[in-house]
């Protein structure tokens, strides 16, 4: 029935996707015919850019001087002491310009948009971090941009909405469906279909139709490349354990990809368990609590009911509140290379506070999920186990939501 259910035996986890954009069963190009020619054009343009050394050189310069890369690899000494186990490092992508890893991808895609002669930028956003990063690069290159954001998310991420507006973006409130990230993505795709002649769609995670999952992964892979070099320099060897949170999965793919073929490295992706995986429609853990389906241009694990209708899901973190996940993660899950787990809203809030108090770093609620898993995992590991957690965003945007959840006065 399916074209590629079985993945051939392999000695690399880093060769995907195939020419049709499939990672085994997952991925692909499930889009309306109107978009097909554009997606093929984008694929060609991206291949050309990859073959052109000046493209990477320009991007490297922007990453260094505009985004502030490389981000530090920081030894979280007090947290390590507190948890009493693995030696915990943070990959400090929250120190990037705009406060998260999202800028890595946005700089890459806007360079591609410019190469392709596109004059208008659109994007979807959940937590608003991707929206802010897109609005930022659009401002930097003088291109008009429209950001689709669910009405529900606009309410819970007010500071980011204001930042986008300051940067000159038009923020369109999405009321269709449930007014969250998946609906914002639907409306961005609808915009794209209607404005194919001049518009470039900057997708914010490793999802969407091919070539987006591979392209966004490539742009985010700078995280893992740096981590490898930094760890070699610091400790003289590879890390043993990697941990990252999963919304669509871009910060995680960015950290993981470089290490997939190093069997000594254990890799954990942390999904948003919301109120708990057992609570019906009460979480956003597509891999631990969903099943394969087709949405937003690719086949992947999805939160859905028995009739194939997509569920909203829930997470305290607007950035993880997505019913799908990048197709490469679905494939890594089924192949067993990466272990996917989930943590609840409550556990993430505890981790958020612990990190703030012990390390003087206010994490975003998204990496707070990764940290909550580190809190469980680190104590079970020996003290010479080198663990890297992707601190992919800072928590400034979340302080209002956290105050509300903790019943604190601001």
């Amino acid at each position: 029935m399916s074209t590629a259910t079985d993945t051939p035996p392999q000695n690399t986890y880093r060769s995907g996707p195939d020419e049709q954009g499939h990672f085994g069963l997952f991925g692909g190009r499930f889009v309306a015919e109107t978009l097909m020619p554009l997606i093929l054009e984008l694929e060609q343009a991206y291949a050309d850019a990859q073959a052109d050394p000046s493209f990477q050189a320009e991007l490297d310069a922007l990453l260094a001087h505009y985004a502030g890369r490389p981000s530090p690899l920081y030894f979280a000494e007090r947290l390590t002491e507190h948890l009493g186990g693995a030696k915990i490092y943070f990959k400090r992508d929250e120190l990037n310009h705009t406060g998260s890893h999202k800028i890595n991808n946005c700089l890459g895609q806007i360079q591609l948009a410019r190469r392709m002669g596109r004059t208008r930028i659109i994007a979807e956003t959940g937590a608003g971090q991707h929206g802010v990063a897109v609005a930022t690069v659009a401002a930097r290159f003088g291109l008009p941009c429209v950001i689709y954001m669910g009405a529900t998310d606009i309410e819970r991420q007010r500071p980011n909405v204001f930042r986008m507006k300051l940067l000159g973006a038009e923020v369109k409130a999405v009321t269709s469906g449930s007014g969250t990230l998946k609906d914002a993505m639907n409306d961005a795709l609808r915009d794209w279909v209607a404005n194919v002649h001049d518009t470039f769609y900057i997708i914010g995670t490793v999802a969407g139709p091919h070539p987006y999952p591979a392209m966004v992964r490539d742009f985010q892979s700078v995280i893992g490349k740096e981590t490898r070099a930094q760890m070699m320099e610091r400790e003289g060897r590879l890390p043993d354990t990697l941990v990252a949170c999963i919304g669509g999965g871009s910060n995680a793919m960015g950290l993981f990809h470089n290490f997939l073929d190093d069997p000594s490295v254990s890799i954990y992706g942390v999904e948003a368990g919301g109120h708990g995986i057992d609570v019906d429609n009460g979480h956003a853990a597509s891999m631990t609590g969903g099943k394969p389906g087709v949405l937003h241009g690719n086949r992947t694990y999805l939160l859905q009911d028995d009739d194939g209708q997509i569920l909203e899901g829930h997470s305290i973190s607007a950035g993880l509140d997505y019913p799908g996940v990048g197709p490469e993660h679905s494939w890594l899950k089924d192949s067993g290379r990466v272990t996917y787990v989930s943590v609840t809203d409550k556990e993430a809030l505890v981790a958020f506070q612990l990190c703030t108090k012990l390390e003087g770093i206010i994490p975003a609620l998204e990496p707070s999920h990764a940290l909550a898993h580190v809190m469980k995992l680190a104590p079970t590991l020996p003290s010479d186990n080198l663990l890297v957690m992707n601190m992919c965003g800072r928590g400034d945007k979340d302080i209002f939501a956290v105050a509300e959840h903790l019943h604190m006065e601001m």
């Binding site: 029935m1 074209t3 978009l35 269709s176 949405l295 194939g308």
Partner: protein
Amino acid sequence: MMTRIDKKFTELKRQGRAGLVTFITAGDPDYDTSLAILKGLPDAGADIIEIGMPFSDPMADGPAIQASSLRALKAGQTMKKTLSMVREFRVKDDTTPIVLMGYYNPIYVYPVDRFVADAVEAGTDGLIVVDLPPEEDEELRPAAIAAGMNVIRLATPTTDAKRLPAVLSNTSGFVYYVSIAGITGTAAPDIHSVEAHVGWIKGNTSLPIAVGFGVKTEDQVSAFASVAEGVVVGSALVSALAQSLDGDGKATEATKPELLGLVERLSSVLRHPAETVAV
């Protein structure tokens, strides 16, 4: 094998006119009303009926069809119920072609082989799966065709010479020309551009062509009827249905007659072109 769709287009050709293809969403605003409308469509003048299989995330649809999809789901519509509507329709009508149109996920999880069997058994003649382009439809198309259904592909204003052969290959029934680069029911299509594109596609296939996505008025129906074998009206019908509902989104006495009345007006343009001109 001649399907009901093939027979219908042969008959339309004999009559020397284009056909009216009507779209409604299954289960909108509720199962019974939707079924009653469905049963009334042929007498109101629908030549071919497209039934939308509701989906939570209809990416290629504008606000009218999005809302209708959500109304149907809220009223409890499922794929099983959509197929049972087709089955109930077939009890009294064995000639009007029915095309199921929608998105892939509800078919994929049904799953595909059982969906194909159940759809054929219910009396479905064709499938349009919006987010299953030629590059991905191998997992559905051969099975559907083998079971006796037509698989209808979309050609759009962005379909270029490089892609057209792929779009036209292994397809049957008719070609659905999407008249605008956009989502359903939004921009008004430009007749000259549609005429040029349809003419170009006709040079590459012997299949009939139906045009749709922005067709609302009687004038548009009449204009497109002069360039294609079929004219699809969807959002306009779904919007008329929405306007007939009460404050809670429930069907009223007016729902069925208003919708079927609109279909009658649109179809009379195709059946009595001379009279329309005279009016």
